[in-house]
């Protein structure tokens, strides 16, 4: 069966338990992708968060922010039959795209996204299994529902698995 790519756009959360589905967040820069997989119920979920947290506290699109997106991702996973204690959690992204000499960058959003992700995961007592974060290059993140494999691909590089 051919893989079915399900794009996960800016601020989106997608959940699937259909083998053959691949959840894909294309071209993450400073954004962070949080992938979770329950190896027993075979439910997978991917969040594509843009910023660490909402400035005004209220947010209609929870997936846009790390602080609201991760709890929402877990809620959706549990609704689909996953169990929190079994989750494999991996993260990727959080690059600094404005690293060129002379570039003006008052605050590094990518780094803050990654820090906030760690804080939220810690608070929820979720252990991070693997990560590929930071640096200065964009990444495409894939989460294969068949076996829970999460991969990262940068421009001009091979797709590599996050063990």
């Amino acid at each position: 069966m051919a893989d079915q790519a399900l794009p996960v756009g800016l601020g989106e959360i997608k959940i699937s338990s259909s083998p053959g589905d691949v959840l894909v967040a294309y071209g993450l820069g400073s954004c962070v992708g949080v992938g979770v997989f329950d190896p027993v119920s075979k439910v997978a979920g991917l969040l594509h968060a843009v910023l660490p947290q909402s400035l005004n506290g209220t947010e209609q699109v929870p997936g846009k922010f790390v602080t609201t997106g991760i709890p929402k991702l877990l809620e959706e996973m549990e609704k689909a039959g996953a169990m929190r204690s079994r989750l494999h959690v991996r993260i990727a992204g959080g690059a600094n795209m404005l690293s060129a000499p002379g570039a003006k960058q008052a605050f590094n959003i990518g780094e803050r996204n990654v820090q906030q992700t760690r804080i939220v995961l810690d608070g929820l007592r979720l252990r991070l299994l693997a990560e590929d974060v930071g640096g200065t290059v964009g990444r495409t993140v894939r989460l294969y529902v068949t076996d829970g494999r999460m991969t990262v691909k940068a421009l001009g590089n091979q797709e590599k698995a996050l063990a």
Partner: protein, 199 residues
């Protein structure tokens, strides 16, 4: 009767057209070739649609990114497919088209100069019309996937809104599309200033 936002859009468009024409003149002068600007459009673009330009978020592209400070605070992004960026370098340094295959530091600085000229000329014209003073930051040249490049813009806007007001235009080289998208994303305070002046 037009509402405030329609007025603002119309005003931005009018200013933008002149700014774009001026930017094209600057670029023509730099390249020694006639470069025309398409009529720019002011659009509200949903945030989620931004990475879907130029063949989608995973496509290899080049972004030339600047910010302006002063009376007009805005982000300026020139985005073009990788191969078109190489052609642009050939034009800037006067090599036959097809000579440039990779973008090293010399090529990147040539592209940065294109960003400087375009943005500088744009700001210049806006300054004349509005009596505003604004300066561009040094350019950052990013070679990466479209989504990752434009993440610089989406990340700064996402906290405020689900849509972005942008001025979008294309430069055309005699008979041949250069296919450079030039985006200008004014920040919220600058939009208020435009609104105050335009209404």
């Amino acid at each position: 009767m037009m509402n405030n936002d329609e007025k603002l859009k119309l005003f931005l468009e009018t200013t933008g057209i002149q700014g774009f024409q001026h930017a094209a003149e600057g670029l023509s002068g730099m390249l020694g070739e006639q470069i025309m600007s398409s009529r720019p459009a002011t659009r509200m673009v949903p945030l989620v649609e931004i990475p879907n330009v130029l063949g989608g978020p995973e496509r290899e592209a080049v972004g030339i990114y600047l910010q302006s400070e002063g009376d007009l605070v805005a982000q300026f992004v020139l985005v073009l497919p990788f191969e078109k960026a190489c052609e642009l370098v050939d034009l800037v340094i006067g090599e036959p088209v097809g000579s440039t295959k990779t973008l090293g530091s010399m090529e990147r600085s040539a592209l940065g100069e294109v960003g400087n000229i375009t943005t500088g000329y744009f700001l210049n014209r806006v300054a004349t019309i509005m009596h505003w003073d604004a300066r561009p930051s040094p350019p950052a040249v990013i070679v990466d996937m479209v989504g990752a490049i434009l993440n610089v813009v989406t990340a700064t806007v996402a906290g405020i809104s689900d849509e972005v007001l942008m001025l979008q235009g294309t430069f055309v080289r005699a008979g041949r599309e250069v296919e450079v998208m030039f985006w200008i994303i004014p920040d919220a305070n600058s939009l208020e200033m435009f609104r105050g002046t335009g209404s």
